[in-house]
Point group: C2
Chain length 400, copies 2
């Protein structure tokens, strides 16, 4: 991979500097760097420089990105959506390998270089979706760091054999173990979480649990999760996705839960949906809880919305939490950059020499300007490789 | 203006037809129309055809669209934002004529052909912002229908002389009289609304009142508004913008208020902000209340967010109300098309022969696809004129 010197970019909107990239890493950042003899040079033209964007929660395997329009006529209950999707994917032959690759590449073109995806594992599809997504992870390994979460979308206890499939998923190379609503879906929270944490403990892998349960029910499940995190010494290895209950419960109970989460290093991952109660972003951060942003599903059998632009997700998070001041909009961006990387455990992240060279150039005056205007990505560098210009993937990557 | 034949477009996603435009109107819609000798022909290529988009609530005069980035460091209270903005506009010489024209043209490029804008009238700026915005209305008259609302942003009663300025605004040609929080800002709801309705009655103009007041306070003000609407025979001439209280009050009280609004033809206009309670869209419509969508402010001293893309506003409305099924997403679009036009009183609207030829072509498979993907506007026709292609205004309009 060639050495690369990027001239005249403004890291997070600061004064212009040059960035030297060598062997996939940021080698130097500073004013008027001298060009090594072997360096290719890119002119940044005063662009705003962001670190590669981070998607903390999506479902690459479910998407219909690039396919014919899916007419959504699904009922409103969670279980309707789960049943509808599993049946649709079974009947249609929806291909998780093809679809996850298409969407992951679209993420890359828009500057997302690290990504956590939950992949359906169930007794109807078996490990088919997981295997397809692992192929995408492998195909893009040099460019995009993908964490695959083995996710029991149809429940862990209700369909016997699911626990064994999750166990096999981790043996096959899934990075993280997923979970889902131990009360509302599994109906037996103690057993559900004991089985789940048992599998994670056996494989020594992190856990990321979808917790949609509202109010007192969700807080009850969260308490059980925190108990097990502590008992098994899984500090820093557990994430709760959604955690809507933290937006419902009274402030005193919320503060107690957040303090325990912070102490145990339990991360909160949110898409900040505007149609329901969400954990209060600033209160979570003030309590010391790392908050990560994500899209959730993108154009799938659940939802027609979403796209692989993490600047748009930062904007939606900013809108959801009414973040208007420039310093507040920067917090929205943080959930899909530094806090995102920290919460998911992506290492060597950020615009500092020694870190992986994941760079995004946009024409924007400030960080807040980039979030609200979501400009074309002028240049995307991933793992030291130029992967996209002006929103378009380089040909050799587009053809993967 | 030349006669125009647009071939092969799909109205709202229906089967392909041709559209004949003559003298600024839709002359005919049907399969394989024969081309009149004097007609220019445009190939639609199977694009989805939408009627011109409608912006029901914005503030063209406040925007910093196209200006240097404004660093927002404003406090969180409503009054902080009001005072900050008035002082900033006074000190900076912010030019409402220039800025309103820039934003209105950006709206036009994205297919918005009808637009209602609230313009600040206060004792510091006098009628300066109004006069500037009236110039924009005049400059774009043949293309974009702009309703100018004379809006007492700094309150009606608190700064003596404001009522006289509003009176002068209507005499000068403002289309609609604006109002603002008769309890929370004016502190004397009966007097505030009596003065306001008195001015509207004198000039026989419609009213559009910003009602941010939450819960019981807002419901109290709304009751006073409905009383005066009935007493003055202003049925069908009153709109409430925001109406957040309708998202707070108990269902029974809400249903009573909505039934009265429906009976009096009082319209609800909303930007559907995700960070606070909003009137329930479907319940409003089911009660017979017309609900109109709008951006509210766009990149101004209040908020860095917003842009002139009404498909994006439809998407945000869809997200806010969790509208996922295709028939539900169509409702989100309706707020910025047919319901928008109906609620604001824009006439001769829609894809029917005889109506004004306001047409938007996008590459999308269905209406829902257009809302979630917000595609480039392939062609925009306004009042029978081609005004933009592929997102770019025609040169003679860009130079206005």
């Amino acid at each position: 991979m060639p050495t690369l010197l990027i001239r005249n970019v403004r890291p997070m909107g600061a004064s212009p500097v040059d960035v030297l990239v060598r062997d996939g890493r940021i080698a130097d950042i500073g004013a008027a760097l001298s060009a090594p003899a072997d360096a290719a040079t890119e002119e940044g033209g005063g662009a705003l420089l962001l670190p590669g964007l981070v998607e903390g929660h999506t479902h690459l395997d479910k998407t219909m990105w690039g396919m014919d329009w899916y007419r959504n006529e699904v009922g409103t209950n969670l279980i309707d959506k789960i049943e509808n999707e599993r049946a649709f994917r079974h009947a249609s032959g929806h291909d998780a390998a093809v679809q996850s690759l298409a969407l992951a590449k679209a993420f890359l073109a828009l500057g997302t270089t690290r990504l956590r995806t939950h992949v359906d594992v169930d007794t109807q599809a078996g490990l088919r979706h997981l295997e397809g997504t692992l192929r995408t992870r492998e195909a893009l390994r040099a460019l995009q760091q993908i964490q695959v979460v083995a996710f029991p979308q149809s429940g862990l206890l209700g369909r016997p054999g699911t626990a064994e499939l999750l166990d096999q998923s981790l043996a096959l190379g899934a990075d993280v173990l997923g979970g889902l609503d131990p009360c509302a879906i599994d109906g037996d929270p103690v057993k559900s979480l004991d089985v789940l944490f048992g599998i994670a403990d056996k494989h020594q892998r992190p856990i990321d649990i979808h917790l949609h349960e509202p109010g007192a029910m969700g807080a009850f499940s969260l308490d059980l999760i925190l108990q097990r995190t502590e008992a098994l010494g899984m500090q820093g290895k557990v994430a709760v996705s959604h955690g809507f209950c933290l937006g419902d419960v009274a402030e005193r109970e919320r503060e107690t839960l957040l303090a325990r989460m912070a102490k145990l290093g339990v991360v909160l991952i949110t898409s900040a949906p505007p149609s329901r109660s969400v954990p209060p972003l600033m209160a979570c951060r003030q309590a010391g809880v790392t908050v990560v942003g994500g899209n959730d599903g993108i154009r799938d059998a659940w939802t027609p919305y979403g796209n692989p632009d993490m600047l748009e997700r930062a904007m939606l998070i900013g809108l959801r939490y009414n973040l208007r001041r420039d310093d507040e909009v920067a917090v929205a961006l943080d959930t899909v950059t530094h806090a995102g990387a920290l919460g998911c455990g992506f290492e060597a992240y950020g615009l500092v020499p020694g870190n992986r060279a994941d760079l995004v150039l946009v024409d924007a005056q400030t960080v807040a300007h980039a979030v609200v205007s979501r400009p074309v990505r002028k240049l995307v560098v991933a793992g030291g490789h130029i992967v996209a210009r002006d929103g378009t993937l380089e040909a050799e990557i587009a053809s993967l």
